[in-house]
């Protein structure tokens, strides 16, 4: 059976999956499907594990929801599907479901010995893709792969269909889910085209760049229209299609609405039930005010909460990453806030734009993707923007993250919009945007934040924002918002992004530096976050899945980070990313397919930043950008980098730095942010 991420690209109809070219052949699917099982009952857990193994799946079991979440956050693209019990002592299964949906957008199957109608209904309303009654029979497990395929397919389809709407939107989708098509590699979708559009879109947000296609920016008015439509229909009856009809906004696609609705629901839930500690949510929401910069307040909030939750580390990373991503994404140097898509809520957008602001800052520096080690090809502008966004995001995220994840997610999300970061954004965005509140973006932020910070210097985010500013110099992706220059110099350590490494490093950017790659991968992730936050419109998400195979979840992304200018990541690395970077050009999506592949650095590549790197990089970058976008959470959040240092930013930073120096892999372990290891940093 295929194990490990190389599941083999799903050779689904769409273009080849992002998975690495050398991934297991698709026809082995669904063997090798990576399943995460969560159940507090040891007996059931063991039985399920055995059954799943018998189905030739790759199983990871976990008996606590928190641990599961952190695993997921750490390894954004590490899993394809999650099976969770409903009744668990430490966290309600539905809560976990919500988190996962928001942060990682993975298909989740609920299961329980309870077959009461209400419970099953709850599963449905919370978004579970299936509900199994215990005792679970192996036959029921044999077909769970369908949920993965279906999700990806929908993502893909959405992407393709939303052509007019905005590329970003599509990309969003792609990045969100595992995309079948390897965006990175092929330009199969119109990724490149889209991406560019997205980028442009985001760009125009900050800077004037020419926007080819308007991104779906959830402006306040638009959101209000949305809310009005939802209220008219009734929150329970509000389905995207109807909402879309009611809103009657030209160019808006159902997908846009759907993703926005998802966030909105979470938001509402959070408002009503969720406590502040989630932090992010609230803060997230509040960012309505435009300026991302305003996020700082948010960040601060988040940080608090985050720190409280102890989730900070991861989160912050995510934010950082997001911030960073935001930056990087902007291809044009403008951290286009991918946000639009990703912003959880429209109000976030204003904040996200912050990434834009960031961009400005960033512009000066080379497009260093803080997050991504992926270097260089990113146009300086973009990187800068990404950088900024990333930074801001990062910081923001970080703060948010600490929140317990919630915040971070928000941040990330916010950041995302900003930076188109394209590449990064995508990836991150995918992660980030998701949760405005619920999970606090475990994936993105946590991993990213941490990773970002440490790794690439993402710490910068934190640094810039308020984190312990780790001297961007160096290897770290000069993520920090402030360090625009750093970006360039960041040498996005492909390797250095230690933080990221854990994340995805699967494919770590560089082949050679696998460890590095890891780091970078992780970085990438973070990058994604940032990207997403800021600008990425990348849809990387979709490719996440594919990316995974790549080994680097992000794989591509890393390179893609155009921001990274420094990234030494050799193109090969990029390629490594799993995406056949060469194909990337515009493939961003691919990377994102995985969704998590935040970095769809590949996307970034497309952006043209990566030009330097071999074509692969380009792809990667491109991808990243693509991916990121979706997720970009209002950059503004990032900007403010509230990171109130709740987390041991310093630790993060140092860890990151350390990592960078020492290669990525190690970094991961170093970080153990409040229990979240850097590794968690979703790469």
């Amino acid at each position: 059976m295929n194990q490990s991420n190389c599941k083999g690209s799903m050779s689904t109809a769409s273009s080849s999956t992002n998975w690495k070219a050398n991934d297991v052949v698709p026809d082995q699917f669904p063997a090798g499907l990576r399943v995460l099982v969560v159940d507090d009952d040891p007996t059931c857990l063991v039985i399920l594990e055995k059954m799943l193994r018998t189905c030739l799946y790759e199983v990871t079991k976990c008996n606590r929801a928190e641990v599961a979440l952190s695993m997921l956050r750490e390894n954004k693209n590490g899993f394809d599907i999650v099976i969770s019990d409903v009744h668990m002592p430490d966290m309600d299964g539905f809560k976990l479901l919500e988190h996962i949906g928001l942060e990682m957008d993975l298909p989740v199957i609920m299961m329980s010995a309870d077959d009461g109608k209400q419970v099953v209904m709850k599963g449905v309303t919370h978004g579970a893709c299936d509900y199994l009654i215990k005792p679970v029979r192996i036959e029921a497990l044999k077909n769970i792969w369908q949920h993965v395929v279906r999700k990806k397919k929908n993502e893909w389809k959405d992407l393709e269909q939303s052509g007019s709407v905005e590329e970003g939107d599509r990309q969003q989708k792609l990045s969100e889910d595992v995309d079948y098509s390897s965006s990175a590699n092929e330009g199969n979708w119109k990724n490149s085209k889209k991406r560019k559009d997205e980028e442009e879109e985001t760009e125009d947000r900050d800077d004037t760049s020419t926007l080819k296609k308007p991104r779906v920016v959830w402006s306040v008015e638009l959101h209000q229209q949305f809310v009005a439509a939802v209220n008219q229909l009734g929150i329970d009856k509000a389905v995207p299609k109807k909402i879309l009809e009611l809103m009657n906004v030209p160019g808006l696609t159902r997908e846009n609405v759907a993703s926005h609705l998802q966030k909105y629901r979470l938001y509402l839930r959070r408002l009503s039930g969720v406590s502040q500690h989630q932090g992010m949510n609230n803060s997230f929401m509040s960012p309505q005010d435009a300026t991302f910069g305003a996020m700082s307040s948010l960040n601060g909030l988040d940080l608090q909460t985050l720190s409280v939750t102890g989730q900070l580390p991861a989160q912050s990373l995510a934010t950082l990453q997001a911030a960073g991503l935001g930056r990087s994404t902007t291809k044009s140097g403008i951290p286009m806030p991918l946000v639009d898509q990703r912003n959880l809520f429209s109000f976030e957008n204003p904040k996200l734009r912050f990434g834009e602001g960031q961009q400005q800052q960033m512009s000066s520096n080379k497009p260093m993707n803080l997050l991504h080690g992926i270097p260089t090809t990113m146009e300086p502008k973009q990187l800068a923007s990404l950088h900024q966004s990333a930074q801001s995001i990062g910081s923001m995220n970080m703060q948010v993250n600490t929140h317990g994840g919630q915040g971070s997610s928000l941040l990330m999300q916010m950041a995302q919009p900003q930076s188109r970061g394209q590449i990064l954004n995508e990836s991150t965005s995918s992660h980030v945007p998701r949760l405005p509140s619920s999970i606090g973006q475990p994936i993105m932020t946590n991993g990213i934040a941490g990773g970002v910070i440490g790794r690439n210097g993402i710490g910068d985010n934190s640094r810039g924002t308020g984190y312990n500013q780790v001297p961007p110099s160096s290897s770290m992706l000069s993520f920090p918002m402030n360090h625009t220059t750093e970006l360039a110099g960041n040498s996005f350590p492909l390797g250095s992004t230690p933080g990221i490494s854990n994340v995805t490093s699967k494919g770590s950017f560089q082949e050679e530096g696998n460890s590095e790659m890891k780091g970078s991968a992780g970085f990438v992730q973070s990058y994604d976050i940032f990207n997403d936050l800021h600008q990425h419109q990348h849809q990387h998400k979709s490719h996440d899945w594919e990316l995974q195979n790549v080994g680097l979840h992000f794989d591509a992304s890393q390179n893609a980070n155009p921001i990274q200018g420094n990234l030494d990541v050799s193109p090969s690395v990029l390629v490594h990313q799993g995406y056949s970077s060469s194909q990337r050009s515009g493939q961003n999506r691919n990377a994102s397919a995985v969704g998590r592949a935040m970095f769809s650095g590949v996307e970034c590549v497309e952006q043209g930043n990566m030009q330097n790197f071999s074509p692969h990089l380009n792809n990667l970058l491109v991808d990243n950008s693509v991916r990121v976008k979706a997720e970009t959470i209002p950059d503004t959040n990032c900007q403010t980098t509230l990171f109130t240092e709740h987390f041991g930013q310093d630790d993060l930073m140092s860890a990151l730095l350390k990592q960078q120096q020492g290669g990525i892999g190690t970094a991961e372990t170093d970080f153990d942010l409040d229990g979240y290891s850097m590794d968690n940093i979703p790469v």
Partner: protein, 154 residues
Amino acid sequence: MEVGQMQRRLIEYTKSLFMEGILDDQFLQLQQLQDESNPDFVVEVVSLFFQDAEKLLNDITRALDQQSVDFPKVDAHVHQLKGSSASVGAQRVKNGCIAFRNFCEEQNVDGSLRCLQQIKQEYYHVKNKLEALFRLEQQIVAAGGSVPMMELSF
């Protein structure tokens, strides 16, 4: 006793457990999961179940013993016991849990206590039976034979 005989005995014994409703189809599923790579799978899982179940039963007993019974907590324990017993195929225990939950809902302490007693009985019953079953299997293996797979056809 020679191997063939032992094997037949094992089959008969297992069948009777199914007929009596002590075990259900899920147990067969477990057996089918067992293979060369994991030859002791069933024993392992069932052992896990025993551990878990005993702990749960103790928790429930203690909870019901309180002045003020925390029924939601009891219910949660019972729910878990239900899940794990269902997963190994301990049908009677599972059924007992289902009944128990009704009493919990009603917040009926007496009813719950009685039900708990019953579940405990069923639990020890199935435990004994399964342990006997495993012993039989061990004997077969020790004698050089292989454990026959049950095919529930009835």
